[in-house]
Symmetry: C2
Subunit: 112 residues, 2 copies
DNA sequence: TCCAATACGTAGGGTTGCTACCTATAGCGA
DNA sequence: TCGCTATAGGTAGCAACCCTACGTATTGGA
């Protein structure tokens, strides 16, 4: 996975991993890796700042806790975050359709 | 179309529009707009610098000419550019699959 | 004792597309 | 003639954002 391709799509991915319940940052990173068969293994320097950004934007809400002697910041979606996730999915569908149409050479959007 | 979403995918789109024959910059911009039903209408400040970048990278080759009193720079794919386009298509397929898997909520890749 | 895994973080940089602006010609309508 | 639009090219500077490279700390196994 070329890295820079992710630009502008990361936020939706992070929100999606929080959809099924609260997670702490490190778990989000692992969930994303597992959901993609290891093909999307983000560095922590990408994940943590992005989560901070989402929290500042009011899309997620974090709380500190301590588990097994390690401090954790557990995040959950806000109502606004849930709406944003839905928007991100819509946007992705359109974006993918547009790129596929223009890039050509592919079977897209799977015409039948 | 959110703007930053395009990051890292523009080069492939430009190469794809040159696949069926040489085009000048302005025509590339219009071809892209038409191929996407107007949904991808790039500003010239995006297209021209990107073409310069591709030429510097050796993926396309440009030549000046004058048509109807207007100077044109006509670009065509190099052999390297053709390979790069193929790579961009492969990369896009994988990228789209990964994002779709992680983003969820969607019918992807259009299972039937 | 040392290292990996877990868990969090920041500083700085590089890439890249966009905004805003500029030049110039052809052609049309007022 | 004047002004506007379409065509055709260009640049400077900015902002977003993800990555690299670090740093801290704890737990637990080799």
């Amino acid at each position: 996975m070329r890295a820079e391709a992710l630009k502008g799509h990361l936020d939706g991915l992070l929100l999606a991993t929080l959809e099924d319940g609260p997670q702490h940052g490190y778990a989000v990173k692992e969930a994303l890796r597992d959901a993609t068969g290891g093909r999307l293994d983000l560095p922590t320097g990408t994940v943590y700042p992005a989560l901070h950004r989402l929290e500042r934007a009011g899309l997620i809400k974090g709380d500190w806790s301590v588990v097994g002697g390690r401090r954790r910041r557990t995040y959950e979606l806000t109502e606004q975050g849930r709406r944003s996730l839905a928007g991100a999915r819509d946007h992705w569908q359109e974006f993918a359709a547009v790129i596929s149409a223009a890039l050509g050479g592919g079977l897209w959007p799977a015409t039948n």
